[in-house]
Amino acid sequence: MKESIHHQVILRVVAKILLPYILLFALYVQFHGDFSPGGGFQAGVIFAAGIILYTLIFGIEQAYRAIDPRIFEVLLALGVCLYAGVGVWALVSGGNFLDYSVLAHDPVHGQHLGILLIELGVGLTVTAVMVSIFFAFVSRGGR
């Protein structure tokens, strides 16, 4: 079963071609989320789906070689820290928690900056959690 998927040339080639676009699209959904449908959660899921696709096609060992799995534990914590950190930043700048208006001189810019950073935090955490859960299942008994 495992062997057979490694010999699927078409799958491997197509996946390799698609992968950069999947990741790029995730980033587009992430950073264009304040003007069009999307945002951190969706972007995180798409980004994680890219990594999961890679693992499915090329196997878990290859995936571990490409990305150190320990980084996801750090990322999932960092995402939450970024989110809450922006809130605390607003607190320190004299507003209420998560009041983005005080983050820049112009309230509109502040709102923009705030939502961008918060969504980035969401994106990081969602990606890391999805991949961590997937790796936890895949690596069961293997490692």
């Binding site: 534990e73 939450v80 820290c81 809450a84 950190g85 809130g87 605390v88 607003a90 607190l91 209420n96």
Partner: protein, 498 residues
């Protein structure tokens, strides 16, 4: 400046600390950090309680968005006392933690354990402080999911199954709560609790609102472990790591009880709940059955942790009974017992943690002659037991006293008062079983030999246990603090206070 942001700091500090624990990794550093955070939370909770007692309710707008649109945190004396319970118990339990965790949980998982612990605490605090009903659901999920993780980390393999059962039951409960919130939102278009209460007046006779209330009540009852929805509780408490049992027993069900009080008295209101829906007719019999059935089952347990878990189910019965009186005296008694029971059960489970640490078991069989082997801990267990019975000079007596007074206030409830007094005899029976094993039976010779080899229980574990147990005695002798707070809480909850 900082004082106006205290309500949000109560939540954000432990929430932010949880991922920082994951980044820190080194287990001693993580423990020290989590300990600092919990004591800071306790300080914040104390400051908040003093403020709401003096100045009345506090409101905090998240992101600067005003009430019905944005999420607000709203704190009154009832919320204040529950915050104090959660953060205080967490702070004491973390002092207790390091040595017992070394024994129970693999060292490389400690940082994840503390992260989950802080998240659980965040969730419980969040439910208590928020004024937005959907926010309640979110925090409920945060606390429940991390509680499942914490329970599953128990050394016994049955902990996994217990956590899984709790997960299934808890998820059903959460889903019911979400459905209830959804139905209420459908009819009113608002999620803010104060706004919801105001708008429910126009639509309270619709079937949708009644269904919403039914779903919410059943959902909360599962989380509260109200008989007969308590089946997840005994196993979860028995197999969880010692400090998790102490923490959850003292806080999780108390926060659920808080949620019940909040939903009934603040959101849905007494006329809808007690006059139209006749909730008392359902809850009173269930509460009495909880007291009698669970106490009787407790008498026949051989594992002391499980015995106390069943006793918890019975004590929840008293809480619901007091709630069912729907009077100011009833709510006062409920809040007093909420606080006292958190202390006494926390203390008892911590004492059992000390026992398990030393002799590696909490089966009655193995506790023989413990009065001679661990005199101080055995004495603390006895004080805890006296609390459960409700002997004068303990906090348990104050609880029972106010409960009986609340029952006698309404003439038709005098049989309930009699039943409550009678139920104390059942408590005497299960406490006596422990006392008899501790003091009346001689220790096994093999145990006495092994005592000489093993190190005694460290001070870091004995001290928090002692503080909590003596706390119940102090509050039994000088109950002014609890009674005053509980009376204020009841006044605000029933809208008597100006």
């Amino acid at each position: 400046m900082i004082s106006q942001h205290l309500p949000i700091l109560q939540i954000v500090v432990p929430l932010l600390a949880a991922p920082l624990c994951v980044l820190l990794r080194q287990r001693h550093a993580v423990w020290a950090f989590a300990l600092g955070v919990c004591w800071a939370s306790f300080g914040v909770a104390l400051a908040l309680l003093l403020r709401v007692m003096n100045d009345g309710p506090l409101v905090y707008e998240l992101g600067g968005w005003a009430a019905p649109w944005g999420i607000v945190y709203r704190l009154d004396p009832l919320g204040g006392i529950v915050l104090l319970i959660v953060s205080g118990v967490a702070a004491l339990v973390l002092v207790f933690a390091p040595r017992v965790l070394d024994q129970e949980i693999p060292a490389d998982k400690h940082y994840l354990f503390f992260a989950a612990f802080l998240l659980c605490m965040t969730g419980l605090l969040g439910i208590t402080i928020t004024g937005d009903i959907f926010n309640v659901f979110v925090f409920l999920e945060i606390s429940s999911l991390s509680a499942y993780v914490l329970i599953s980390m128990g050394a016994d393999r049955r902990a996994l199954l217990a956590a899984y059962r709790y997960l299934v039951m808890g998820t059903i409960g959460s889903t019911f709560i979400l459905i209830g919130i959804g139905l209420a939102y459908m009819m009113t278009g608002t999620l803010n609790m104060a706004d919801l209460a105001a708008r429910l007046g126009d639509v309270h006779e619709t079937r949708t609102i009644r269904a919403a209330f039914a779903f919410l009540t059943v959902g909360v009852s599962i989380k509260l472990a109200l008989f007969p929805l308590h089946v997840w509780l005994p196993n979860a408490y028995t197999y969880a790591p010692s400090m998790v049992t102490a923490f959850l027993a003292a806080t999780a069900t108390k926060v659920s009880c808080y949620l019940l009080l909040r939903l009934v008295f603040t959101v849905f209101g007494v006329p809808l709940v007690f006059d139209e829906m006749r909730l008392a007719a359902v809850f009173m019999p269930l509460a009495l059955m909880a007291i009698f059935v669970a106490s009787t089952v407790a008498i026949f347990q051989t594992n002391v942790k499980r015995l106390l878990a069943y006793s918890s189910v019975a004590q929840i019965g008293y809480l619901v009974l007091a709630f069912g009186f729907a009077s100011q005296a009833g709510v006062t008694a409920c809040v007093i017992h909420l606080f006292n029971h958190a202390l006494m059960k926390g203390a008892l489970f911590l004492a059992l943690g000390c026992v398990a640490f030393r002799i590696g078991s909490v089966d009655l069989e193995d506790l023989r002659g413990l009065g001679r082997r661990m005199p101080w801990i055995a004495a603390l267990i006895v004080i805890g037991g006296l609390n459960l019975i409700g002997v004068p000079l303990t906090a348990g007596f104050i609880s029972k006293w106010y409960l009986v007074m609340a029952a006698l206030e309404q003439r038709e409830y005098w049989p309930v008062a009699v039943a409550m007094l009678f139920s104390s005899l059942l408590a005497v029976a299960y406490v006596w079983r422990i006392v008899e094993v501790l003091y009346m039976q001689p220790p096994r010779p093999s145990d006495l030999q092994s005592d000489q080899r093993e190190a005694p229980v460290p001070l870091s574990m004995v001290a928090p246990t002692t503080v909590m147990t003596l706390g119940t005695v102090v509050l039994g002798v000088y109950p002014t603090f609890t009674v005053q707070v509980a009376q204020r809480a009841a006044e605000f909850l029933l809208g008597v206070a100006a």
